[in-house]
């Protein structure tokens, strides 16, 4: 007996829905096993992780706050991965977007500007993220340098730059030596849209981005080009599409969306620049992108699910005294299972007898 994989000529729609679902179920089962292994009642733990964040209005709002950056970034990663451009440095692009946007806020701080400042900040964030994303793209398109390594290395560089800024030139002089910038003024903050003030316009920007990306990928020539370059690069060249220019385009787009996520975080929930502004959204978004099968609507759902793990992780830290690393374990497991289940979409598992039957 042996298991063999046979390529399907066409993936069934049921399979592209079933595989992420199966991956989530398997993650929960393995998570439960892991909890019982370290001596924590598995059901209670899973409840804290995956149900408590849905328990009340405040929690639901918090969910939107966490989901928005994850989904924004993953939306940008999808065209990258569809076209075989492995941008894994979204975390750095997020940071640079936040830095660029905050530069506007800090430069205009206390000068009595109107609320157009926050829009300028968003624009600066988009540009900052896109510019940072273009570095590995240019290195790849012009010089053939692996974008995987360079985009990741730039994450560390961005983190260090942020650290330098908030401890050095941008430190709040009245901040008791804490490594943070000034608290942004009213004109430099995204307005709260609910009583708790947690829900902010960034959430609706994210929904808009989902709709735009879905339209672009499914209905436009650009979307076609993106999918074609990934599926058959030689056919794309035969079609007259320039894969190098496309690399620049998808990296810039992905950097722009990550930068937007970064400045939304700073101008929204956080309110000033700090040494750490993201709990690893840029990396978790990679999982969101794959769990959502690189489809904008899939990413929308997947983003909410992974946002759960962030809030669940914080809750578990308080309620169960579990380190935040459990969240990462969950996320890693989930990506494992997503990739494993994807095989079921592309291939058919077949059981064959060893050798030739007589």
């Amino acid at each position: 007996m042996r298991l063999t994989l046979e390529r399907r000529t066409q993936a069934g729609i049921w399979a592209s829905l079933a595989s992420p679902t199966l991956a989530v179920v398997l993650t929960l089962v393995f998570g439960a096993l892991l909890f019982s292994l370290i001596g924590i009642p598995p059901l209670a733990a899973l409840t804290v992780y995956f149900l408590s964040p849905l328990a009340d209005l405040w929690a639901l709002e918090e969910l939107t706050v966490k989901a928005a950056p994850l989904i924004l970034i993953a939306l940008g990663l999808a065209p990258c991965y569809l076209s075989n451009n492995w941008n894994i440095g979204a975390e750095g692009q997020l940071v640079m977007g936040a830095v660029a946007g905050s530069a506007v806020a800090i430069a205009t701080h206390g000068q009595g500007h109107g609320s157009y400042i926050v829009w300028l900040m968003l624009a600066a964030g988009v540009l900052g993220g896109a510019a940072y994303g273009l570095i590995p793209a240019v290195l790849k398109a012009r010089f053939g340098v692996s974008e995987i390594l360079t985009s990741l290395m730039l994450v560390y560089v961005a983190d260090l730059l942020l650290d330098y800024l908030v401890r050095g030139p941008w430190r709040d002089p009245k901040g008791f030596n804490f490594p943070t910038s000034v608290s942004f003024g009213f004109e430099a903050r995204l307005p709260g849209l609910s009583e708790t003030g947690r829900l902010h316009p960034g959430f609706f920007l994210m929904l808009l981005a989902v709709a735009l990306l879905a339209f672009m990928l499914a209905r436009t020539l650009k979307g076609f080009e993106i999918r074609l370059v990934g599926e058959a690069p030689r056919a794309a060249r035969f079609g007259g599409f320039d894969d190098k220019r496309l690399t620049l385009f998808v990296f810039a787009l992905s950097g722009a969306l990550a930068g937007l996520a970064g400045i939304i975080e700073v101008a929204g929930p956080i309110g000033n620049l700090q040494p750490t502004i993201s709990p690893g959204y840029g990396f978790t978004a990679i999982i969101v992108a794959f769990l959502g099968r690189l489809n904008p609507f899939g990413i929308l759902i997947a983003g909410f699910f992974l946002a759960l793990t962030f809030i669940g992780g914080e809750n578990a830290q308080i309620a169960l005294r579990l380190p935040l690393d459990v969240t990462r374990v969950f996320q890693g497991l989930l990506l494992f299972f997503v990739l494993a289940c994807d095989t079921l979409i592309l291939y058919r598992l077949r059981v064959t007898r060893e050798g030739a039957p007589a």
Partner: protein, 516 residues
């Protein structure tokens, strides 16, 4: 077949396969096939592309497990778990697509197929064996430096060093020049003279009639006949293979006094791939209403020439002219706007994206045409209409209305691609290997389409390794070898031998070139 195993007579078959079946999804690739090979014979396995020859030999070599059926080897049942076991029993195989490692040396390539042995001693043996069989090889050279013919010699030497009782060759002459082919036949006779058997897979009837005294003919996955090819005519063998008479392509003689459509002047192109072939001073022209053929053995610059003409790779502006316009520096989309159409050799992955539906594949080369894209947005219904028109006019058969490209058979996919790119009545068509791997019916249809295009006034350039095809279609034929192109002479002034000589000319150059 029962009872054979207990006999110990002189004419016991070396190999007797009975009722071999293999199914891929809905396709029955092998349907209860019987095959008997006797010791010391060169046995032909004849059949069209897609008749199931490759599947059958892969089963005999242990690469694929059959769904049912039995193989008797020297009188005893044989069940193969893989190629290693087949080789252990004395079955060796030379593939159509070589299983060589470009960055390794000849002797390292041989070593990988043999039990462990010091490389120095092995080099000595490789040298001896290659000399004994007239297969000139240098053990120390890296494979990527060698010509296709030399690579095939490595494969054959590698098999012979395993002292096989049965040597399987899959379409060995498809990559050889006529001179190299006769060299191969001498080697095969020498192998047969030692009492070994050869299973010779081919669809070239003349070769089989010269070389083989027994043959098994397959059609649509079934065995339809066994015969002695030397007692058959090419026509009778063809009828067995195809099952019907294929109507000949209607070619009217003497065309090509129209205006120059494609002009190529001193096209030079250093290959970016260190393993590729560079084009050197290639010059020729194609006029309206004529078909020009470019012959040559694979790997002599065909891919490089096609991509330079199509604009996938750019050159000096004046090196390529369409209708007198210098387009060498322009891309493929601009060249299409000048009325050119291109049909590459490789269908899946180059001409079409395997996972995309046919209507999406229309867009691959036609997105510049009016009506499919408006302000960057796709018009999917226009694409579907276009697909329906192509399918009707070019008889593209598929199960669904809009299946993914990889679901189509080779012939139907090629009809789709050719249809897609010539629907708009192009003034210049450049096509590489138009009927490679296509069944006879589709091949005749495709050739007729090219002839019709020329009759309607288009200039057609056909790059092909198939000399029969070129002689059937072309008004003029040139030979590409080692990146250099011979003058294109009218068909009437050339013979297979003269063309073969031009191919061979280059081969001798290679043999005498200083070894870098």
């Amino acid at each position: 077949m029962t009872g054979v195993g207990t006999q110990d007579s002189g004419d016991q078959p070396l190999l007797a396969a009975s009722a071999i079946s293999k199914r891929y999804g809905s396709l029955l690739a092998n349907d209860a096939i019987d095959l008997v090979i006797r010791p010391g014979e060169i046995h032909a396995l004849l059949g069209e592309n897609g008749a199931g020859k490759s599947t059958l030999v892969k089963i005999l070599y242990g690469l694929i497990a059959p769904d049912s059926g039995q193989i008797m080897w020297r009188g005893a049942p044989l069940v193969l778990s893989g190629p290693a076991e087949a080789r252990h029993h004395g079955i060796a195989m030379v593939f159509q697509h070589f299983s060589l490692f470009d960055t390794l040396s000849v002797v390292e390539n041989v070593a990988l197929a043999l039990p462990p042995e010091p490389l120095a001693a092995l080099s000595e043996r490789v040298y001896r064996v290659s000399r004994d069989y007239g297969l000139d090889l240098e053990p120390g050279r890296e494979v990527w430096r060698l010509s296709v013919g030399e690579r095939q010699r490595i494969e054959i030497v590698r098999c012979l060093m395993q002292n096989p009782k049965l040597l399987i060759l899959d379409e060995p002459t498809s990559v050889l020049s006529p001179t190299e082919t006769s060299g191969l036949f001498r080697t095969l006779e020498a192998i047969r003279g030692e009492g070994r058997s050869v299973l010779y897979i081919s669809h070239k009837l003349e070769e089989v009639r010269v070389l083989c005294r027994s043959a098994t003919v397959l059609r649509h996955g079934r065995k339809v006949a066994s015969c002695d090819p030397s007692r058959e005519s090419a026509a009778s063998l063809a009828r067995m293979m195809v099952g019907e008479d294929i109507h000949d392509v209607q070619v009217k003689p003497h065309r090509g006094d129209g205006a120059e459509r494609l002009g190529v002047r001193q096209l030079n192109r250093a290959s970016p791939d260190p393993h590729g072939t560079s084009l050197a001073d290639v010059s020729f022209s194609v006029r309206a209403g004529e078909i020009v053929g470019i012959a040559g053995v694979a790997g002599n610059g065909q891919d490089e020439l096609f991509s330079a003409l199509s604009g996938e790779v750019s050159s000096l502006p004046e090196a390529v002219c369409i209708d007198g316009q210098a387009v060498g520096a322009k891309g493929i989309v601009a060249r299409r706007e000048y009325g050119a159409a291109f049909i590459p050799e490789e269908r899946l992955g180059h001409g079409a994206a395997p996972g995309f539906t046919l209507s999406e594949n229309v867009l691959v080369s036609q997105h510049g045409k009016q009506g499919f894209v408006r302000r960057g947005v796709l018009d999917r219904s226009a694409l579907r209409d276009c697909l329906a028109a192509i399918r009707q006019r070019f008889d593209v058969r598929a199960g669904e209305a809009d299946p993914p490209a990889r679901a189509l058979s080779g012939g139907n996919l090629q009809k789709f691609i050719v249809g897609r790119d010539i629907m708009g009545a192009p003034r210049l068509v450049i096509v590489a290997q138009p009927t490679w791997g296509v069944d006879a019916g589709a091949a005749a249809f495709l050739r007729q389409s090219l002839v019709d295009l020329a009759e309607q006034g288009a200039a057609v350039l056909v790059i092909s390794q198939d000399l029969d095809e070129l002689f059937e279609l072309s008004d003029r034929i040139a030979v590409l070898s080692r990146g250099r192109l011979s003058p294109a002479l009218p068909r009437g002034q050339q013979t297979r031998e003269s063309i073969g000589l031009m191919m061979g000319e280059a081969m001798r150059e290679v043999a005498h070139a200083p070894h870098a």
